[in-house]
């Protein structure tokens, strides 16, 4: 249970700072008094969590309400994993937990004690792209790029699980990942090429 003291002191500052609020400069705008009520909110409930993320062990204090997705994006600043729906419908947040593809939005962070997490940021080896990333580039398998991390993580899992024997099987495995720009054909082209190349994934 940490952080609440810090937060309270910050709130004290806010209370002082926002005694008067006007939205713009100029004397014609009436400053409106908006004192923040003197509630003292409950402390943010936190718990220790040890994770291995992209090969690096991390000892964290996490909000017990955090999903792995929000932990990655908001607490750790690892924004390569995307939020597209936060309810497991779209696949934008697909990561690997202990090698299994998982919707990061559906996994509470604290349930992952000791787990190994791989995200898009952990796929390339230094400057060398993962074969799937290179294939996505080559086949223009994205437009806006927002679903791309999830598509690539699913695509890697698709190959690892041996579910890429033909295009129909690839499409069936990949149907949990929406691409609203409609780059589906180019995505399947990329996966098929990596599968056929026999590249080590």
């Amino acid at each position: 249970m940490m952080n609440c003291y810090q937060m309270n002191s910050r709130r004290g500052f806010i209370r002082k700072a926002v005694g008067l609020t006007a939205l713009t400069v100029g004397s014609s705008i009436l400053a409106t008094a908006h004192p923040i009520d003197a509630f003292v909110p409950a402390p943010i409930p936190k718990q220790k969590l040890t994770l291995e993320i992209n090969g690096k062990q991390m000892d964290l204090m996490v909000d017990i309400r955090s999903t792995v997705l929000d932990l990655l994006r908001e607490q750790l600043g690892m924004t390569g994993t995307k939020k597209g729906c936060a309810m497991g419908d779209c696949g934008a947040c697909m990561i690997h937990i202990n090698g299994n593809r998982t919707n990061a939005c559906l996994s509470l962070a604290v349930y992952n004690e000791g787990n190994k997490i791989t995200t898009i940021e952990g796929l390339a080896k230094g400057e060398e792209l993962h074969p799937m990333q290179a294939a996505f580039l080559k086949h223009d398998s994205f437009q806006c790029g927002y679903c791309t991390s999830g598509q690539i993580m699913s695509a890697v899992a698709c190959l690892k699980e041996g579910k890429a024997k033909n295009r129909e099987e690839i499409k069936d495995y990949m149907k949990r990942n929406i691409c609203r720009c409609g780059s589906y054909q180019n995505i399947v082209d990329a996966i098929e090429e990596v599968q056929k190349s026999g590249a080590k994934i």
């Binding site: 939205l23 100029g26 409106t32 509630f39 003292v40 943010i44 597209g84 898009i120 806006c144 149907k175």
Partner: protein, 743 residues
């Protein structure tokens, strides 16, 4: 801060591709600011009425709570009430929902409060704990019922050329009604805004927008700030398809909250909120009547449409427009009305009104072709015209016949049988269908800065953003061609309103508008280099500029390219690090060139329809575009693929369902609102005429984002008819509807 994109080695790869496949590309909600607070909307659970009371006691006691913003404690916003701020110059009234301005509820899901907390988890919890009580009023959301009451309709626009309803006098005619439900853009990136008041009168915004400049101006005028004191950054836009053409409630909410709590505030919509807060394709009803003589000459087209809008804004689009001008016909009448409902305001969604209108037009033409016992392509070729029928101006370029021919070849049209139910594969009926799309090809104003560095790199800058079309990639190609430079020497910077004013990305105009600006800036850079060569390089002192050429970073004699000086040497001689130009490329008024300017598409599909279950499977798609010169073949192809996928959704799955007893959307998730997924997508072939339009701009390119989807749903319906003899006029075409339809 702005996007810096260097071209990479493979000429086909997107210049921003590396960032996107490695997860490094930053989207709006991904910019961390110190001491940032999170804002989550609390949305109305009623459809119409007033908020009686908001209790925040429980909410404010929750972990991490900072504040709850709502109408009772919302600071005064100049753009909500300009007359109350006579001293502020740069103010205009906010268009659209004035969030937290009053206690009125105008639609289900309207933001009532913004819960502010230290973390996203806390903000979600605080939002859930805000207690709102309402006084409900009766409401109207049932489009199908209310559109039949003329008293409920707002007059839109009417048009008559020749006789109205002339189709009824033709020996052969078809009359039919079409219904399209509300569809939602649903880009994968949710709309988001981060607002940060850097000081009392200057604001930094990270915002999901298709137009950094238009957002800058809208926000400046909302708060009475000078434009330059509002900086809008949209480094990457994770899809939009029209939803980010204007600023929605998340923008003022974040800005007001950031002012109120004196901290940066991030507001990200939830997926359910994406269904009611950032626009949608309006629900529509259409009636088409088309008549022809026995030889297939069109004798009359009548197209009537109604689409919904909200109670607080009118939204109109070009539903009936294509019927007025696309095919040769002397007698055309159209009428378009609006039905205001207690829903949020619709907006442009890919291929806006034309996608709606061409569905009805192209299905009705297909019906008439069948009645005339004509091949649908032959029928269209019969009524082909090079003169835009409404303006009577010749098209600047129209190669749609090439699309008919090539598309027919690629889909295997020769295997199509005129009589439905003629082709079967086991339990599946097989059918072929086609549909035509058309959209305006404009050219707006754009300003581009071109910078030539002494190390030979060229940087081009404009305040445009890119929702995925590949704008930077295309602009690098335009510049590389204009400067005769390798692409890896050129970078394009965008996504920041501080850059020279660029266009809003929309209406299939970016390549034409911005490409013209880039081309002009590059021409000016070359001209500047020639001037510098004459001034600083003695051998060229007496040479005419016409005899000089700039290519591969050298200025040389046209007649002898060995006589040359490197651009970098010229810049060094000037004792500067770079030279630059800023050029504004003017917009095009088609009247000035006495031409009509449009892009065209023809889509072909082969479908299987299960004879027992009615299930529709697309087996093959061919999509062809006539959009002038194709600047960036790979990204253009991807855009066409995307349009076809969007068209598959429109045709087969996408439908917002509203419970009219509550006014609430019943399927506001991506699990229940079905968008196309991998397993629905057949092989898609893309083909372009790729012929430069000689009039539209200096680069010969027209837009293709809209035509990629316009006409596609008709091709599917026409193929289903060809397969089964059943005409499906209400989208989406579901197996239930197919089973219920009569052949």
């Amino acid at each position: 801060m702005n996007q810096t994109i260097f071209s990479i080695n493979n000429p086909d790869e997107r210049v921003d591709g590396l960032e996107k496949v490695t997860g490094k590309a930053k989207y709006t909600a991904e910019h961390p600011l110190p001491n940032m607070a999170y804002g989550v909307f609390v949305c109305s659970t009623i459809t119409k009425g007033i908020v009686k009371n908001i209790s925040t006691d429980k909410a404010m006691a929750a972990p991490g709570a900072i504040d709850v913003l709502h109408f009772e404690n919302c600071p005064k916003v100049p753009g909500y009430q300009p007359s109350a701020f006579p001293d502020l110059k740069n103010v205009s009234e906010w268009r659209g929902l004035k969030v937290f301005a009053d206690n009125k509820v105008r639609f289900n899901g309207q933001p009532i409060a913004l819960a502010l907390a230290e973390t996203i988890e806390s903000a979600n919890e605080v939002a859930k704990l805000v207690e709102v009580s309402y006084q409900e009023e009766s409401f109207e959301t049932d489009f199908d019922k209310l559109r039949k009451d003329p008293a409920k309709l707002k007059t839109g626009s009417s048009y008559t050329r020749g006789k109205s309803q002339a189709y009824k006098e033709a020996p052969f005619y078809v009359e039919a009604e079409y219904n399209i439900p509300i569809e939602v853009h649903n880009p994968m990136e949710m709309h988001a805004t981060i607002a940060y008041w850097e000081n009392a009168d200057s604001l930094l915004l990270y915002d999901k927008t298709q137009g950094p400049k238009s957002t800058q101006m809208a926000v400046a005028r909302l708060f009475g700030l000078t434009d330059k004191n509002v900086r809008v950054i949209a480094e990457n836009v994770g899809g939009a398809y029209g939803s980010a053409l204007r600023s929605w409630a998340n923008v003022p909410a974040a800005v007001i909250a950031a002012k109120k709590i004196q901290r940066p505030v991030k507001v990200v919509l939830t997926r359910p909120q994406m269904f009611s807060l950032v626009g949608y394709r309006p629900q529509s009803w259409q009636k088409l009547g088309i008549g022809a003589d026995a030889n297939g000459n069109l004798m009359g087209i009548s197209h009537y449409a109604i689409s919904n809008t909200s109670r607080y804004e009118d939204f109109r689009e070009g539903i009936v427009d294509a019927s007025r001008f696309l095919y040769k016909c002397d007698h055309v009448d159209t009428d378009y009305k609006l039905l205001p409902l207690d829903l949020s305001t619709p907006t442009w969604m890919r291929g806006p009104g034309e996608a709606t209108g061409c569905f009805a037009l192209e299905c009705t033409l297909d019906d008439l072709a069948y009645k005339l016992k004509m091949d649908p392509i032959a029928f269209r070729v019969k009524n082909f015209t090079e003169i835009q029928q409404e303006s009577k101006l010749p098209w600047s370029a129209i190669n749609v016949k090439d699309c008919y021919e090539k598309g027919a070849e690629l889909i295997g049209w020769k295997n199509r049988k005129q009589q439905p139910k003629s082709l079967k594969d086991k339990d599946w009926y097989v059918g072929y269908g086609m549909g035509v799309g058309v959209f305006g090809a404009g050219r707006g104003t754009s300003t581009v800065r071109g910078i030539w560095h002494k190390d030979g790199r060229v940087v081009l800058e404009s305040a445009v953003s890119d929702m995925g079309a590949g704008t930077a990639t295309a602009m690098v190609k335009v510049a590389a061609a204009a400067l005769s430079l390798p692409e890896d020497k050129i970078k394009f910077m965008m996504g920041d309103s501080d850059l020279p004013p660029g266009p809003t990305q929309g209406g299939s105009t970016t390549t034409s508008t911005l490409g013209s600006g880039v081309h002009l800036a590059c021409e000016a850079l070359k001209d500047l280099m020639k001037d510098m060569a004459k001034e600083l390089h003695p051998p060229f002192k007496e040479t005419s500029k016409d005899d000089l050429i700039v290519e591969n970073s050298r200025v040389s004699l046209k007649s002898n390219k060995e006589v040359a000086i490197a651009v970098g040497d010229l810049i060094n001689k000037k004792k500067v690090d770079f030279v630059d130009v800023v050029k504004t490329s003017p917009g095009l008024n088609p009247r000035d060139i006495q031409k009509a300017t449009n892009s065209f598409s023809v889509h072909f599909v082969k479908v299987y329809v299960h004879s027992k279950t009615g299930e529709v499977q697309l087996k093959h798609v061919v999509t062809t575009g006539d959009a002038g010169k194709i600047i960036s073949p790979q990204t253009a192809r991807s855009q066409m693929l995307g349009g076809a996928v969007g068209g598959i959704g429109m045709a087969l799955t996408e439908e917002v369902k509203i419970d009219h007893s509550t006014g609430k959307i019943q399927n506001a998730t991506l699990g229940s609102y079905q968008v196309p997924r991998h397993n629905m997508i057949p092989h898609i072939d893309v083909w372009f005429t790729d012929k430069p339009d000689p009039y539209i701009n200096a680069i010969g390119a027209k837009g293709l984002g809209e035509i990629a989807i316009i006409g596609f749903a008709a091709a599917v319906s026409n193929a289903v008819f060809n397969a089964t003899g059943k005409r499906l006029r209400d989208l989406p075409i579901t197996k239930e509807k197919i089973l219920a339809a009569k052949a």
